[in-house]
Amino acid sequence: MIGRWFARTPAGGAGAAARGLDWLNLFVANIQTGFGPFIAVYLTTQGWTQTAIGVALSLGTITALASQVPAGALVDATANKSRVAAFSIIVFTLSALLFAIWPVPLAVYLAEVLHGLSSCTLGPAIAAISLAIAGQAAFARRLGRNARFASIGNGIGAALMGACGYYISERAVFFLTAALTLPALAALVPLAEPGDRRTRRRRAPPARRQPLGRVLADRRLVLFATCAMLFTLANAAMLPLAGSALTKRAGSESSLLIAACIVLPQVMVALLSPALGGLAETRGRRLVLLVGFCALPLRGLLFALASDPTLVVLIQVLDGIAAACFGVLVPLVVSDIAGPAGRFNVSLGFVGVAIGVGGTLSTTLAGWIADRHGDAAAFVALALIGLAATLLVWLAMPETRPTRAAAANPQPGD
């Protein structure tokens, strides 16, 4: 129903394939929810020590970091992207079942590795399917729509998993996750046939493929990866830090307030993303990128100043704006830069590594500062990193919108 409603908005790509892609984004975001910080809660209920949990989580992080680029290369080299997506989702199912059935060290390590690997192939595969269905010209709008449905999925996922963990058991969350991989697979069905034909038709001929080294050494790509790294370095720790401050200050309603802090940005992303995708197409990437990056230092500063719990939740609107811009622009800018060279997914993996490194360092850095100088100082430090990222985008990052689109829709400026 929702799919039919949204199908009327200009989306790029029509009919069953576009709707299948909507649902795919929704359900994939849905199943990712349980694999977040909740794993630590679940393993604790299974009598795991904090050290053992740390080992398991690090293993997942390292796997994801190490396999981003190879996974991207694999997706680039495979003609049938929907088969890659299907295979990744099945590995997801396996990982969730391992968590649910055998919460013992070796099985959990295996599940972490499987999850790390499959999320590295699933993301690029969905981006590649989107590009194949929408085509380069409508890709920005398609990404906006992807982000809308992914955030709806995230919001629903958080609500479902939260309720499941609260009313049934922590273990049930992973059975639910495994069950939700089935509709994700079903969403792939309408994508399999036309997607393949399109992919084959639109795939860059091998002669146009540029050597990997030259693509990854592209100044714009390295610059963008640096900006993305700084963005996540400033961004990733803000929500956990704000949440922990809420637990400290608010009473019994603090868990609900934290849930609101998670869901409100998802609502913002769902509302804003399609418009931002359109804006990136008509007014250029730099504008949207700057809006998203500016929201970050502002948010850090406001978190440092605000103490009222309601205010903390409201500040999360800025998180939604930043997340919407970032979520649409990362695949879009990478496709601008590396798409014509036939190296879209491997480059997306490269930027993914930068994002992963930023995210991993962020919580450590923020925790370290918060320990010594308090929460406010940590927020100010994160805001300063966000400011540096914004300045880097503003001063150094060039417009990447293809000139073909610019010629069809002329704009002043670069």
Binding site: T44, W48, P105, L106, S244, S254, A259
Partner: protein, 196 residues
């Protein structure tokens, strides 16, 4: 030379596997780590007895399973009847009003092996925004000793929520802050740290 290179290629996955296998038994500890609380109910027993008592069901299987000569179980086995002791890690914590107060993630013991404080992971949503707080051991109570019952904590939410976060491996000179019993005057909502 080619063989040497191939050997090195194999060495990496082999080493990873070895590391995983080596890590596995070390992390298999979580369940027996509940020993910490069995010392509570078996304080008068000699050191070393609680671990030996852990593999309770083990003696049932060896007669059939032992094809080779397996070492005989120690003679000094003691039994903990159901309801006498349980593992504490991961147990839900509630206050007197039955409100959710998180769960036990660690137990701090002193040089004599006596528990001094429990670390509870408190608050948050789906693992976001929770805080680890150490509470005085004497404030914990087990109404029923079974694996599904929750631990009763003699503090309220407001007495716990603003306590300093428990940090496991900071510098040894820094004391661990533990939330102690509330002051007798019931001085509103200010959390009281253990007077030491």
């Amino acid at each position: 030379m080619a063989r040497g290179w191939r050997g090195r290629r194999l060495a990496v996955p082999a080493l990873t596997l070895l590391l995983l296998l080596a890590a596995a038994p070390a992390d298999a500890d979580p369940a027996p780590a509940g020993d910490a609380d069995s010392t509570k109910t078996t304080q008068d027993r000699p050191p070393g007895a609680p671990p030996a008592a852990e593999p309770g069901p083990a003696p049932a299987t060896p007669p059939e399973a032992a094809k080779k000569a397996e070492p005989a179980p120690p003679k000094n086995l003691e039994t903990l009847t159901p309801g006498e002791a349980i593992g504490l890690l991961g147990k839900k914590v509630r206050d007197a009003a039955g409100e959710d107060m998180g769960m036990v993630v660690d137990v701090l013991v002193d040089g004599d092996g006596q528990p001094r404080a429990a670390v509870i992971d408190f608050g948050g949503f789906l693992g976001v925004g929770s805080r680890k707080i150490a509470v005085d051991w004497r404030l914990l109570q087990l109404k029923q000793v079974d694996s599904t019952a929750s631990v009763l904590l003699g503090l309220t939410r407001t007495e716990v929520q603003a306590a300093p976060e428990y940090k496991p491996s900071s510098n040894p000179a820094q004391p661990v802050m533990v939330v102690g019993p509330p002051p007798p005057s019931t001085g509103a909502s200010t959390p009281a740290n253990a007077p030491k």
